[in-house]
């Protein structure tokens, strides 16, 4: 396995060992570059959301960190070790995409089987309990709903009492209630200082749960920061309203952009109070006014579409 503990120590500038470190990782499948020169470190205790559109390389990035495949160039490490060694040490738990449980077993049997593969499992009972899966312990895996399946898989992931949890779209196929339940049991786990990396499509999950958001696009990091920092990419608020006037709205105070769709206008403003006062004073025909804060969705769209245009050029 090509593993070289090269520049990493110097680059990090600290003495602590990262929970996950990708150093110049590129992964190509034929002509497709799934991960493109990725350098990223996840520090112990962080809860990190990995966001990105489909095909952005989230799953490949995770697989490489877990040693489920070797990078074309570069190296991935877990706790300063080659991935396999950290896994053998029982420090990692994972809910993988396309990593299903055995349908003919009960949830408890599945967890017990995986526990047997670990050297120091934390016990089947406690794992089921912490995953909120005690109630479905004796149910067959094939009879579970989407949300229940994910809870069972979560129990499997934490049975080794891992320091690092890697979750690839853990709440896919869950309904709203199941998602709430999942994240609340997750909060209890991370309260004890575990590192969690999760890939998700749900931006609100990243916003509410992660300390740090990393957005991937075409196998590269396009944003990396706290949810607030990432949202700041699309600073200010939007003011949308209906008007028939073909007004020079960009001249209003603090307006940074104007977007028209028929009679509906959306202004982006760095100071929504000032813009709004001026707008209503100057253009009294503005109706159905709506002021809203920029969301993670806006940030996500702004970040990923910007790089798309760059790539297209």
């Amino acid at each position: 396995m090509p593993w070289a503990p090269t520049r990493t120590a110097r680059d990090s500038g600290t003495m602590t060992t990262s929970a996950i470190r990708w150093t110049g990782v590129t992964k190509r499948f034929g002509a497709v570059t799934a991960v493109d020169d990725l350098t990223l470190a996840i520090e112990p205790g962080e809860v990190v959301a990995l966001l990105g559109p489909n095909g952005a390389g989230k799953t490949t990035t995770i697989d490489l960190a877990l040693g489920l495949g070797s990078p074309t160039t570069g190296a991935a490490e877990l706790f300063g070790l080659p991935p396999r060694r950290a896994i053998v040490a029982g420090r990692v738990g994972a809910m993988l995409q396309g990593g299903a449980l055995l349908p003919d077993l009960t949830v408890a049997q599945c967890v017990a089987l995986v526990a047997a593969a670990h050297r120091r499992p934390s016990g089947v009972g406690p794992a089921l309990e912490r995953a909120g899966a005690t109630g479905i312990a004796s149910r067959r895996v094939s009879r579970l709903s989407g949300g229940e399946t994910q809870r069972a898989r979560f129990a499997v992931a934490i049975v080794s009492d891992p320091d690092l949890l890697v979750l690839d779209e853990p709440t896919a196929a869950m309904d709203v209630e199941a998602r709430h339940l999942f994240w609340s049991s997750m909060r209890e786990l991370t309260a004890s200082g575990r590192t969690v990396v999760f890939a998700t499509h749900y931006l609100d999950e990243a916003d509410a749960f992660a300390d740090r958001v990393v957005i991937l696009q075409a196998g590269r990091v396009v944003a990396d920061g706290t949810p607030a920092e990432v949202k700041a990419v699309v600073a200010g608020r939007t003011i949308s309203f209906t008007t028939h006037a073909d007004a020079p709205l960009a001249a209003l105070p603090a307006v940074t952009s104007v977007e028209r769709r028929g009679t509906r206008v959306t202004l982006t403003s760095a100071d929504s109070d000032a813009t709004l006062r001026a707008l209503l004073a100057t253009w009294p025909d503005a109706r159905d006014v709506l002021v809203s804060a920029r969301t993670m969705d806006d940030a996500f769209l702004a970040l990923t579409s910007a790089t798309e245009q760059e790539a297209g050029r």
């Binding site: 697989d63 877990l66 040693g67 489920l68 495949g69 070797s70 896994i87 053998v88 040490a89 029982g90 990692v92 738990g93 994972a94 993988l96 396309g98 990593g99 299903a100 449980l101 055995l102 349908p103 003919d104 077993l105 049997q109 017990a112 089987l113 995986v114 047997a116 593969a117 670990h118 050297r119 499997v156 080794s160």
Partner: protein
Amino acid sequence: MNVRYVSLETLRQLRNARSLVFTFALPVVMLLIFGGAYGAETDTTTRLPWIVVTTVQMAGYGGMMAALGQAFTIVAERALGWNRQLRVTPLSAAGYLASKVGAALAVSAIAIIIVVAVAVLVLHARLEPTHWLLAGVGLELGIIPFALLAILVGQFARLQFAQPLFMVVFFGLAILGGLWVPLQILPQWMTSVAYAVPSYWLNRLGQMGAGGPGAVLAPVLVLAAWTLALAALISWRYRRDAARA
């Protein structure tokens, strides 16, 4: 090596054994048909009663098919992504291999015991108990390379092609090895082919256990060579398969 995992996995496949009911039934049916037909005459090549020769043949066939049937299980588990989940545990390639060989040998033992029990209880086949035991043990040990073959096929086959592939490989082994019909009845060229096929030597090992003539070293060497070659292929494949197991 992870003893606890290997035993749990073996138990799991044993609990699944009811899905192998046809695998267990077919050799019994053939035993009842052929065993009754040949009667008490003695086979000239092995100098064993025909009923014993047929019993060993069918026990070998049943045990082999039960072991090879693990390939289905492995293909299905891979398709599910179970192997991906296992790869984020400390379970080593050797541990995985041992769990699958253990499971294959356990279900094979059931097949062998059923055939021998039917031969003794229903067809009144007579042989020293020690020879039955040795025949059974010989067959069981001879099944190790077939367990490995099942793992190898399970690693390569895709779910949609599995069925026809298995039919060709498994029945080819049964026929070429002389497990269905004694080789004496088949054309001469097939006998030459049979020497290269592990199922032929599986049958020979069983016959020798039952008290038939021949040096045990020959089947042991051939089957050991198959075992080593298959084990090497499997570990090479397991390493290569790491990406999308």
